[in-house]
């Protein structure tokens, strides 16, 4: 199971990579494996303000549509046009090219409230 040590995780399977006050968000390897073939990603509007827990994007497989929640509060500053063009990147490279959106976070310390890789592994094991 691929759970990178430098990320934080949401209980609803989003990952966060914090660089300065910018948080990159995607879904975990475990989540993409559960969802299987992603065929569509609905991205949020740039500039949208979100609170932690807000449904912010939608990832759809053949089987079902799944909401992607903002793990922390902030403003959407960038979205990944590549996953819109090729949704399978979410499956093939969930922590790299499969990222979904970036937030300018309100408070960088909010990340502390998310799961550590160890805690996330415990949740999905």
């Amino acid at each position: 199971m691929n759970v990178p040590a430098d990320l934080r995780f949401n209980t609803s399977h989003e990952w966060v990579r914090l660089e300065g006050d910018i948080a990159t968000v995607g879904i975990s390897d475990h989540a993409q494996e559960e969802l299987t073939d992603v065929v569509f990603v609905e991205l949020p509007a740039v500039g949208r303000a979100v609170d932690a827990g807000d449904p912010t994007a939608v990832v759809e497989s053949v089987k079902a549509a799944s909401d992607i929640y903002a793990p922390i509060g902030g403003e959407v500053v960038e979205v990944n046009p590549e996953v819109e063009a090729d949704p399978s990147l979410v499956n093939t490279d969930p922590y790299g090219k499969g990222w979904i959106f970036k937030l300018k976070v309100k408070s960088a310390s909010d990340v502390e409230g998310l799961l550590s890789p160890e805690a996330y592994i415990a949740q999905i094991s």
């Binding site: 299987t36 569509f40 609905e42 759809e60 053949v62 089987k63």
Partner: protein
């Protein structure tokens, strides 16, 4: 919760083969083994096997069976020779669909019916309510395990698992030496067969079909495969409020054979043209996968219906769906919009089916 779910006789074999079993229409069934796209493609290009043990099997026999079934069902049972099967409908008095099923003739007055899992009790009650004394009707749904082996390589799978046996011709039925029933039918559009064995031997057969090259498939891709063919799913695309004429399935109704339950409404619709029709809609551009119950709008923004089924077509790589729309919107090429969470994606009415299989028995 799981205590209330019905269990398939193939459960142990599924677990051994690595399936993910989930609650599905009251049953604990595999919805996917690996991924829907993989399994879908295996059936279109090679061979796949599905558990269909949840489906119901009725045996009808006795003097007058044929005449009685011809009153109960919309297609013409008299057209069946022994060993042949046909797709047909069980209708209510107003011509609405109670169930769609396949009936096979196994003797002069002997018939084998395969009905939808969710409708076993309702079908049985409707049949028994109308059944004369001379006809015997047995519900054998619990006794049979069922597997559908589908795909261009399905004949080779059959030859490997049942050496010395011959597949019946398209839509036909036959029995193997060990008493299993083989039907050359399916729900995917590909060549293939449906295999009913005793519940006890089902798991062994499933493993044999897999060992012979059929990819184990969940019911998830069975839905995408059938929708690409515009095969209706009862409860979604068929209902007691819709007739086979509205569903565009008049080919499976015989208006010339004499009276049958529901005939009056169908005759009227045939004469006047139905007010609504089940149309095939395909996205004209990329969009979020269409799904059942999404609203369909005209290009003017007027709500004109909702999808009865929808899926991202794995074979075509785009959204497809079925919807009952006012007949004025049923013309091929008519442009509509499908609403997905407030966003509208353009689609148009296309010819059925969405996909044409490359091989067929």
């Amino acid at each position: 919760m799981s205590d209330l779910l019905k269990r398939t006789p193939l459960e142990a074999a599924h677990v051994e083969l690595g399936a993910k079993l989930v609650p599905f229409a009251g049953w604990y069934m595999p919805v996917q083994y690996t991924a829907i796209l993989d399994e879908h493609s295996a059936v279109r290009n090679k061979a796949g096997v599905f558990d269909i043990s949840h489906m119901g099997q009725f045996l009808v026999s006795g003097e007058g069976s044929l005449e009685w079934l011809n009153k109960m069902l919309a297609n013409n049972v008299a057209k069946l020779g022994i060993g042949e099967g046909q797709y047909t409908f069980l209708l209510n008095e107003s011509g609405g669909v109670i169930d769609d099923l396949i009936i096979y003739r196994t003797g002069a007055d002997d018939f084998f019916l395969v009905v939808n899992a969710s409708m076993i009790d309702e079908d049985l009650a409707w049949f028994l309510q109308h059944k004369p004394e001379s006809v015997e009707l047995r519900n054998e749904s619990e006794a049979w395990a069922g597997m559908a082996v589908q795909g261009p390589e399905s004949s080779a799978v059959f030859a490997a698992v049942c050496p010395g046996e011959t597949l019946p011709p398209r839509n036909g039925i036959s029995k193997t030496a060990d008493g299993s029933i083989v039907c050359r039918t399916g729900y995917t559009g590909e060549d293939g067969f449906e295999f009913f064995s005793s519940a006890e031997s089902g798991g062994d057969y499933l493993k044999k079909f897999v060992a012979a090259g059929a990819k184990p498939c969940g019911l998830g891709c069975r839905d995408s495969l059938r929708l690409e063919m515009c095969y209706p799913l009862n409860g979604n695309d068929l209902s007691p409020e819709r007739t086979p004429i509205e569903a565009g399935l008049g080919f499976f109704v015989d208006m010339e054979k004499g009276d049958f339950i529901g005939r009056e409404t169908l005759a009227k619709q045939k004469a006047e043209g139905p007010a609504t029709k089940l149309v095939a809609l395909m996205y004209t551009d990329k969009g979020a996968p269409p799904r059942a119950h999404y609203t369909v709008l005209s290009t003017d923004g007027e709500e004109i219906g909702e999808l009865s089924s929808g899926v991202h077509s794995p074979s075509l790589g785009t959204g497809i769906g079925l919807a009952y729309l006012p007949s004025v919107y049923s013309k091929l090429g008519t442009e509509v919009r499908i609403d997905v969470r407030g966003r509208q994606f353009p689609a148009k009415v296309v010819k059925k089916p969405f996909y044409k299989p490359t091989t067929k028995a």
